[in-house]
């Protein structure tokens, strides 16, 4: 832990910043040609150039800042063309130094930022944007970038930015960040305030920063300081504990939602017809492919709606897979109801067929999906718990599917028929329920739900012809554990398996988690062969 503080910063980078004293930029005019030359130099030179840029952003004259800002961006985007005479900004075709239009000579080389230099340039770019960008959203984004590395923010940058800031909300945020950044300032009051600020966003990273202060001379000398550090440490640790618990719950819930989506269609089909549909995984895969096709269609027809393809694909994915399911039922499985084990083999053949058909038609590569804003990234909540939107999408989708399926089965005549046939096929037939039609429609429903599962999974997993295979055994386990054909059983089993998996995984690893969960299920079924929510009845 001796090095704990340096964990946050790239040690060498801090050195680079020191090597390029801000005084240079302040005292004398910026050596523009020299800077551009460094930008086109080797990794070390580029590092110095980055430091100069950051310093300029903090302390340079307005003129210099206006001149230097595009350079940082261009370096990040590899839009800087270096040639014999200097460099050209590819955007607009301007000379990097003089800003007069000129074409690059020969084949210009776009320097590539090394990993070490990249954060320096990103910081510099953000610093320029915070002080100069006209768009408040851009400034807010820049502030977010700066927040990632508070220790590297050039001195006085935040003060100056706050002075000039016109947006009140943003101004406050800048002040907060400035206070946080004062963790190692000279003023004890500022430091204590900074400790409080840091503790407001508990995370392991924050804990590392604060606990490093316990070795600070002030910790022994200043009781007030010590109290602040201790309080902050306790607060952060509590936050981390809550965050970890929430993260475990969330991860379990998200895994459960995936299991549920994969299993619910299967559960309906299995419960109703006793047919093990080994092609369910492939129907999931086809659902994902249909989603992709919808995306491609929108790209061609209505690019403006492209971001909404995940929503627009819902009915399409459902209907296409449901149609496939109905066709399958009518042409093949209808003839096999008396022979459940044969229907198992038949659906395996179908799965083989569908998988290879898709392989031949679309190829084996992973499909490329746009990631719309609503399934991108996440929000840090507390501790190290990040609420990721793609998982949330899957959870919400699963919850909605559950609600709709439940309503369909419990609240509609079709659902009543399904339940009647599930419970007693012969009796249902006697009272005039068209059991064959119900079978067909229910198979369609189960298949359609698989299609929806494919849609929900496409922002999370790779989509390729093989993807269905990953879910089939897990889905079966959910169905048999839950008890045949009960929606409640499927939900409970999915939640249980998901949560247990997530709990075991950090302890013994992912393989062991899977093995243990499967063995637990096998053992459980020995004890209760009919699953959690068994429907009991007389021997038929």
């Amino acid at each position: 832990m001796k090095l704990a503080r340096s964990a946050l910063l790239l040690a060498g980078l801090a050195g680079a910043l020191l090597l390029a004293p801000p005084a240079r930029a302040q005292a004398q005019a910026l050596d523009r040609a020299g800077l551009v030359q460094e930008l086109c130099g080797d990794a070390g030179a580029m590092g110095r150039a980055g430091a100069t840029l950051a310093a300029t952003a903090a302390a340079g004259s307005d003129e210099d800042r206006a001149w230097a800002a595009p350079l940082a961006r261009a370096a990040i985007d590899r839009k800087l063309g270096c040639d014999e005479t200097g460099a050209v900004l590819e955007e607009g075709g301007l000379d990097a130094v003089t800003r007069t239009p000129r074409a690059a000579t020969g084949t210009p080389r776009a320097p590539l930022l090394s990993l070490r230099n990249r954060p320096v340039f990103e910081l510099g770019d953000a610093a320029f944007a915070l002080r100069g960008a006209p768009d408040p959203a851009r400034r807010a984004a820049a502030l977010k970038t700066l927040e990632r590395r508070p220790a590297l923010i050039p001195e006085r940058l935040l003060d100056r930015a706050a002075e000039a800031e016109t947006d009140a909300g943003l101004k406050e945020q800048i002040d907060t960040l400035a206070q946080t950044a004062a963790l190692n300032a000279a003023d004890p009051a500022a430091r204590i305030r900074a400790i409080g600020r840091v503790a407001e966003n508990p995370s392991r990273r924050a804990l590392t920063r604060i606990s490093a202060l316990a070795r600070d001379p002030a910790y022994e000398a200043n009781p007030e300081f010590r109290a602040a550090v201790d309080a902050a440490t306790a607060r952060i640790e509590r936050g981390i504990a809550i965050g970890d618990a929430l993260a475990t719950l969330y991860n379990g819930l998200s895994f459960a939602s995936i299991l549920f989506m994969a299993a619910i269609g299967l559960a309906i089909i299995f419960g109703l017809m006793g047919v093990i549909n080994l092609a369910q995984g492939e129907l999931i895969m086809i659902g994902a492919y249909v989603t992709w096709l919808v995306q491609q269609g929108l790209r061609a027809v209505a690019p403006g709606l492209l971001d909404w393809y995940l929503i627009l694909a819902i009915p399409v994915a459902f209907l296409v897979t449901a149609a496939i399911g109905i066709a399958l039922e009518a042409s093949l499985l209808r003839h096999l109801y008396k022979r459940p084990l044969m229907s198992l083999l038949a659906t395996w053949a179908v799965s083989l067929f569908l998988m290879n058909l898709v392989r031949v038609v679309f190829g084996t590569q992973n499909l490329q999906f746009e990631t719309p804003f609503y399934v991108t990234g996440g929000v840090p909540v507390i501790g190290d718990f990040i609420f990721t939107w793609n998982r949330m999408f899957a959870i919400a989708f699963a919850a909605l599917t559950l609600a709709l399926t439940w309503a369909l089965v419990r609240r509609t005549p079709f659902g009543l028929n399904i339940r009647a046939v599930t419970q007693n096929r012969d009796m249902a037939a006697c009272i005039g329920i068209p059991t064959r039609r119900v079978d067909m429609m229910a198979f369609g429903l189960g298949s359609g739900l698989a299609g929806l599962a494919g849609l929900a999974l496409s922002p999370i997993y790779s989509v390729n012809p093989q993807m269905g295979q990953n879910f089939i055994i897990d889905a079966f386990m959910v169905v048999v554990l839950g008890g045949v054909g009960t929606i409640a059983g499927t939900v409970v089993a999915a939640l249980g398996i998901g949560q247990i998996n997530v709990l075991i995984e950090p302890l013994w690893g992912a393989v062991a988690a899977k093995v243990i969960v499967l063995l637990m299920i096998i053992a459980f079924l020995q004890w209760r062969p009919e699953g959690l929510f068994a429907v009991k009845g007389r021997r038929k």
């Binding site: 429907v535 009991k536 009845g537 007389r538 021997r539």
Partner: protein, 242 residues
């Protein structure tokens, strides 16, 4: 030997919230043919399931010979103790010959109980009784419905059981076949054997039964001779739904 072959004592069976048998008690004596009747869902077949060990009751016990509690031993042990049952739906082994069926019924356990000539004699005897002697070589799956019913009776008969349970032995039979079955059941009556018949066909029941138990909603509604049954107002109510 106790006169009572079977004592059903406070048996309750539940399927979910539905009570198939509700604190049911009844006694069946050696030497009698007991018919159990009642509307659909009264619990007749469930009762046989409990006696033959297929369904385990939630409460209560079933004493055989006054000593053995049948709810605590396996189906196979129950059968070996001398209780045999013919199922409602003829359930023959489609892949086996008629002769094999009788042999399986007669020769219990993995090691042969009878030596070969004795077994052959017993099979011939049983085939003669149920009238399938000329069908001995055929596969059971190819028999007619009536023949299957008799084959089933032959199978349970072959081991010379003490308690014989027949679940709807004449369902789906022609009048002539019913006639033959009735004669067969009467012929099987012996002082050291109790015969339990579940049946809907009242005429058939009247011809074979010494006593009749009427079940309704898992409870005994009435017990007595068929003539009394026909006269009982409550029974008529249940059957005609008034």
């Amino acid at each position: 030997m106790s006169l009572t072959a079977l004592l059903v004592d406070g048996v309750t069976v539940r399927f979910g919230s539905f009570r198939a048998l509700d604190d049911l008690s009844l006694a069946i004596d050696y030497g009698e043919v007991r018919a159990i009747i009642g509307p659909n869902g009264a619990g007749k077949t469930t009762l046989l399931d409990v006696i033959s060990g297929i369904t385990r009751p939630k409460q209560g016990r079933v004493l055989f010979d006054g000593a053995t509690d049948l709810t605590e031993i396996s189906e196979a042990a129950i059968a070996r103790a001398g209780l045999r049952r013919k199922f409602q739906k003829p359930s023959v082994f489609k892949g086996l010959s008629v002769r094999r069926h009788i042999a399986i019924g007669a020769d219990v356990g993995f090691r042969a109980r009878l030596d070969a000539p004795a077994l052959e004699d017993r099979i011939d005897e049983v085939l003669e009784i149920v009238g399938l002697a000329d069908q001995a070589g055929r596969l059971a799956g190819e028999l007619s419905h009536g023949q299957k019913q008799w084959l089933e009776i032959g199978m349970v008969l072959a081991s010379d059981p003490k308690v014989l349970m027949l679940d709807e032995p004449v369902a789906g039979l022609t009048d002539e076949e019913t006639e033959r079955t009735a004669a067969l059941v009467r012929a099987l009556r012996r002082p050291d054997r109790a015969i339990v018949v579940v049946e809907h066909d009242m005429d058939f029941v009247e011809r074979i039964a010494d006593r009749v138990t009427v079940l309704h909603e898992g409870r005994t509604l009435f017990e007595g001779s068929m003539a009394h049954v026909r006269a009982d107002a409550a029974v008529v109510d249940v059957y005609l739904g008034r």
